[in-house]
Assembly symmetry: C2
Homo-oligomer: 447 residues x 2
């Protein structure tokens, strides 16, 4: 487990850099030393490019230019996000030898924030799957048990953070692809509201649901990274609460937030671990239970994602089907047959769910539920794209992509020795409520 960055927060790293105890080039060296090839987190390392960036970061700090909390920090980037001059492989033989000419917008944001891009991390092929073990680069292994899957699709980004190779990584999340591997690997993963981080330069999976997100050791580091990326005038300020929130006037703690427990009734997934639900539920003992038809939202998710994903891939499927990993091809062929009328109905259903959940978020500050109803299965155990266990992967995460809501997965202890994640969801613009709640829960768990 223990790479250099394990347990080190961005704040600690920043203090070390600014006190002169540590340097960006030194941090980069620690990162590269911490890379464990057996985990298969990175598909490309860029020691030269990173070295140049780290030297610039050190020179800037020395000359008094401070770009903020990501300045000089080694960061990993998922391999469906373009970094100029590096391969973008998509985990697919289709993109063998493909080198990006231009940085994705989120990568440019990273650079402006002073981050040092260490390399590219393994992804489920074309980000089209939540297990993280289907890729031309082979499965990404879970550092808690190397026989187990990391979860996906931002598999390598989660493992690079979880194993202490870097303190922060970029991922993408279309149905849970940041939060799922974060939960399976015992770290934090945050997907902001739809559109908060631009997707330019990110290979599309399903344009209505694609989000860029961040993975870090803690919710607080997700918050710091997200704020640094989107800037103080970004979309990260909380919108006014629909009910007046009394502010603390005497230095007391902020008032208790209203939280609802969303029952994880994923009726189609045969393998649901009740111990996972119990472990997460225990963190919200006083939260009233609410029900949302998560199963139906997943159908909405599938219908829209199918149409959009096949739209992206139609020509590749026709031209070179054999270059896909077999499960990916099987999924795509199914997606290509999903009828248009189901898409239309899904778009209407989505509006209905948006109204329903907006009503809930008028009554509650945030919603809580497990990130996944299971712990990480063994690699290869989720067989094919339509196996019985597949719905377990995205059923609790994809609703918040369908609705474009901010969603945070935080470590919530272990079950049978494997990490589980608690997921917090709120209304657009109210991300700070999630980070505040996560901080409070961390205190509860520590105490």
């Amino acid at each position: 487990m223990g790479g250099f960055f394990t347990g080190r927060t961005l704040a600690e790293i920043g203090r070390g850099l600014r006190s002169g105890e540590e340097s960006a080039t030194g941090l980069l060296a620690r990162a590269l030393e911490s890379v464990d090839p057996d985990l298969n987190a990175f598909v490309t390392l860029d020691p030269e490019g990173a070295e140049a960036a780290a030297r610039r970061a050190d020179e800037e700090l020395a000359s008094g230019v401070d770009r903020g909390p990501l300045h000089g920090v080694p960061v990993a980037v998922k391999d469906i996000i373009d970094v100029a001059g590096l391969p973008t492989g998509m985990g697919s033989a289709h993109f063998h030898g493909h080198v990006a000419e231009t940085d994705a917008i989120c990568v440019t944001m990273l650079r402006h924030a002073g981050a040092v891009i260490v390399g590219k991390t393994g992804t489920h092929e074309f980000a089209y799957g939540g297990s993280g073990d289907v890729s031309v680069n082979g499965p990404v292994r879970n550092p808690h048990d190397r026989e187990r899957m990391s979860g996906g699709s931002s598999s390598g980004s989660a493992v690079a953070v979880a194993a202490g190779m870097v303190p922060l990584a970029l991922g993408t999340d279309t149905g849970g692809s940041v939060r799922i591997p974060a939960a399976f690997c015992g770290i934090a993963g945050f997907k902001p509201q739809y559109g908060a981080i631009p997707t330019g330069g990110v290979f599309p999976l399903s344009v209505s649901f694609d989000h860029v997100g961040v993975l870090a050791g803690s919710a607080d580091d997700c918050r710091i990274a997200y704020r640094a990326l989107t800037g103080p005038s970004g979309p990260s300020e909380p919108s006014p609460s629909p009910s007046p929130v009394p502010s603390p006037v005497d230095g007391s703690a902020p008032r208790e937030r209203r939280v609802a427990w969303i029952e994880p009734t994923v009726i189609e997934a045969p393998v649901i671990d009740p111990d996972v639900e119990r472990a997460v539920r225990a963190l919200f003992p006083d939260a009233p239970s609410e029900r949302i038809d998560l199963l139906e939202i997943r159908r909405v998710f599938r219908a829209i994602q199918d149409a959009e994903a096949y739209d992206v891939h139609a020509e590749r499927v026709a031209r070179a089907p054999g270059r896909y990993q077999p499960p990916t091809l099987e999924r795509l062929e199914h997606a290509g047959r999903t009828p248009g009328w189901r898409y239309l109905r899904a778009v209407r259903e989505r509006e209905r769910f948006a109204r329903e959940v907006a009503g809930l978020l008028d009554r509650y500050d945030y919603l809580a539920l497990p990130t996944l109803p299971i712990t990480a299965p063994k690699i290869g155990e989720i067989e094919g794209p339509f196996g019985p266990h597949v719905p377990a992967l995205v059923s609790l995460t994809c609703p918040w992509n369908v609705l474009g809501l901010p969603a945070l997965s935080i470590p919530a202890g272990t079950v049978h020795g494997l990490p589980v994640g608690a997921q917090l969801v709120t209304r657009p613009g109210a991300e700070s409520l999630l980070f505040e709640a996560a901080e409070r829960l961390r205190g509860d768990m520590a105490g």
Copy 2:
């Protein structure tokens, strides 16, 4: 052919009513006498309801209340448009015995304009076809040759006007369903821009393309009816021309309008009658030719229509497939399989075509082309929904549904003794250009 209203304009009828030579009850009697059951134009007649409306119209006129050019005029309404208290049969066994509770909005508009609703006219089943010979009510016959199809789907409305049973009828037009039967039957048919006449109370076929339109003996009567329906403050005022149009300052005729000839290259329809193209082209001898990929627009039309039509019918297909006419069921089953990704691509293509045609309509006041590339085939000759001749029916009309543009079909003489139609298309809000052009062409043809 010759029912009472053959050759009688709305203006003449209105003069007769206002001079006291004629009455609304008298006109209604003439209409009912003119109904020729062998043509199968009407599926429901409402002599009592119409009689009451006609009497009211006469009383109003006598007491000085004049509702304008449709006051006291007998009108027929297509049988997918609700008229309160009358059956709406949709040409389908599925709606056997179904009686509408409320008037469609366009019917309420008719009533406010003083029209007398004579009855309901035969439609291609669910308006889902352009031949007009697929219906639980049997084929509607072309008054020019009773062995030939009327065209559809507003079959009965076209034949009721063409055979002089009424001077005006309401139809609907999703891919040409007003203009096609108007052209085959030798009358005028006008579909305004998308949304100009509300579709509330009209059974949907494809919500993105559904339009309510009018059928009458001449373009001028279409103009009068359309203006009477939508009122002086409606969407019928021409928008400013993108280029300054010099207005006549000395009482001379308005300037010659710029017209482009759209080449009717419908490459997938094997039966195209070059004599039809020649006959219509001869009306626009000086118009430069322009090309639009009509074939590709038809694909866009089909993909969007398929998804939307099956969305409307999915439960009926599942529950009682045998109640559809076999060609309708075959079409629906095909539509239900059309993949969602094709729908998404069609939506994008549609935007591209909208920009292309908007560019053309910056350079030209209107576009001209045949309404159909053929004259009316024999009943049953267009076999099944996917026969080789099917594309001939909508290929020249559906592009203007896809783009939501005002389109007018006017009689353009005969070929081999059967009527042909010329179609004029313009930008939203510029309908008056079409009616002006039609008037000028009528003068040319007469002279």
